[in-house]
Symmetry: C4
Subunit: 229 residues, 4 copies
């Protein structure tokens, strides 16, 4: 079932340790087959160096386990909320990558200080609010998705394909699992440079809007001219 | 004698340079066989790239050398104090890993700024007081253990399996030598992110208690649901 | 056509990921054949691990594509402006290397804090001004070259072979593509140490001029005595 | 001539890039044969990846080239001053290693914040004063040695086997070339942790003297008990 998607999601998962984004098992990638509404996701707590494509778990959008020998990632309910709310996305990633997590722990959105950020994220990367004790008690992982979605009421998910969860860490997404991982790598680099920028210049301000527009739009949308299309 | 434990302690020691936690010989791991009360520990000052399982030293809880061609780690007396006071632990690690040592040199406990910390350490990681000149003179390594134990009068050692020794560096522990090393790796990552968090937001506050409870308890205790048990 | 130059520019491009200066495709190197006025440059958006010498694109100084199956780097017009204005240079590099980009995002020139800087850059490394909305609209990449050149009205390009573009990142150059990459590596190290110097001593001042002169001139000019010539 | 010393000095030189202490050719190691008064040193500007033992240069203490096809390191005169003034040393290292250079650029001695420092350096690591314009003009490299020696009027060179040259970088030494490199590695780690300590706690104070004494003396002198002697 969904062998091709499993292979893609497996490869996307394995890219996380290769890119230095996870320690031990602190991360997971999923991908969705929109035709069937089925999601392939990493099993919970399985080490990356023994993970095989066949270890991945298939769940439906209601969270029922459809296939797999393992329990799915403990963050599965968060992934599912994102797939339900953001119909244009095909892959989701969660990590505790160092600099992105630091911004989350500092309870700060990441300002757009330069073109590296603007090439991929159109505007600041938001920091979702903490869950209330009631939301934690009721359904922690599902409500983590809810507060992320709250942060995107006035943003398009594929224009800012990342969020920070306060005191926790980042989620990123993309049109598929591979692009979601790509965005996780870019987020970490952008978070690192923004952190260093504020250390160097505590009164740093975001890049001028015209620069942000130029860089985002030379890579995205109908008039893009970066790359080989 | 204790061949299986020696192999485990050897592998735990070799994990330290592999994880980037030691420079030269600045670290040591031990493990205890509770049935016999014997402790296996790294020999003092032996380089990791020539260390063999048979080089490990066996000592009893009184510090007598029971087997081995080498002198045991100069920190042996500290390990022994911890084994005597913390009956639930099976392995102990000492390193000078960079960020944990920096918190020790800054004479600061590490606040719990996020879920990466809360997943493994239930509350702040304490910084034990300096030894007095008399305690240093009398028995430096033994009394290093004594002041660590003082810091845990109101904490359970396996709920906060790490401590910082002021102006020195960290000790960690676990149910066995491998888990003690795992905690040393997590401590270093948590210490790094907490350091960066305070640089980014000098008025950062610890994560809400309900988040700390949720994360610690979804991995530990009777209602844990992380992983594959 | 220009096979030897293509090989040199190819090798210079491949040195960027090897030295840790680029993530994904965030960098490009070009080299010029002054006799023919032709420039060899990396194609836009092609991953380094599949790049071949024959993928490189040949353009003339007016920006016309003379040879190649791909579109040239989206930054080509900037490279061309530099070749036209700085007649003594033979290679140009653009990266988003971390620390150099951080200085650009902080809108700061890099002061000369020591001999590592003075050995290669004679005086501070300038930060070019932002483009106006009109300059962006008219010809973003070409005008990026224009504002760089503005910053060198009173500097010799080979005495300070690097510049920061505000809110963007660095360009470096040299007598050929290999030396331009060498300067990109040195710039990143110098930017890192200057950043750390200001963190340690917020009132740090540049190295005395006599030290800057001594170090620059023992490596450069008629009385140089470093190395084996 | 001096084949064994050449091999030792060659291996010590090659340890610098392996330990991440040099970029390109920014470092050099020498060793002395006290019987003959001859010094073996790296040639100037030769890349580490092509360096062979036979490329090393032999000079006498007056700076005359006794053997070798290359010119000796441009820093040779500094090494020679150190050998003449510090009779107990057998090897000297110069690098631009990142954190040690940062302290030199910040014009700061490195305080002893913990036991990692105290295990190898007995007290703070001094920062030698800048040379005057006259001293630079007269004999830059020789006088670099002179101001280093000035800083050790009240210190024993083997008790604090390192110095920072203001706005430049570190020199270290030891009983032979290998130990001088060992001290260069330790200096870099100590410099990194001290930098981070001050960032975390701007009012950090040095470790209590009794801790510094205990750690230095358990590794050095007649009552040392670390290691296997």
């Amino acid at each position: 079932m969904l062998e091709q998607l499993k292979q893609q999601v497996y490869e996307a998962n394995m890219e996380l340790p290769r890119r230095g984004l996870v320690t031990y098992t602190w991360g997971n990638v999923s991908g969705i087959d929109r035709a069937s509404g089925l999601v392939v996701i990493k099993p919970s707590g399985v080490e990356y160096d023994v993970l095989k494509p066949s270890d991945l778990v298939v769940v439906d959008l209601a969270g029922n386990c459809v296939e797999g020998d393992y329990r799915p990632s403990s963050d599965t309910a968060t992934h599912l909320e994102l797939y339900k709310a953001f119909e244009e996305i095909g892959g989701v990633v969660h990590t505790h990558s160092t600099y992105a997590t630091v911004w989350a722990q500092a309870c700060r959105a990441i300002p757009c200080y330069g073109t590296t950020h603007a090439d991929y994220f159109y505007g600041e990367i938001p920091c979702a609010r903490n869950l209330t004790p009631e939301e934690i008690e009721e359904a922690y992982e599902k409500n983590t998705g809810t507060v992320i979605i709250e942060s995107f009421r006035e943003k398009k998910p594929l224009e800012v394909p990342a969020v920070l969860c306060k005191n926790h860490g980042p989620f990123t997404w993309g049109k598929d699992a591979a692009q979601a991982v790509y965005h996780a790598v870019v987020l970490e680099e952008v978070a690192k440079m923004a952190w260093m920028t504020e250390q160097l210049n505590p009164s740093a301000v975001p890049a001028p809007q015209c620069i942000q527009d130029k860089h985002y739009l030379r890579k995205h949308g109908p008039n893009a001219y970066y790359g080989q299309k």
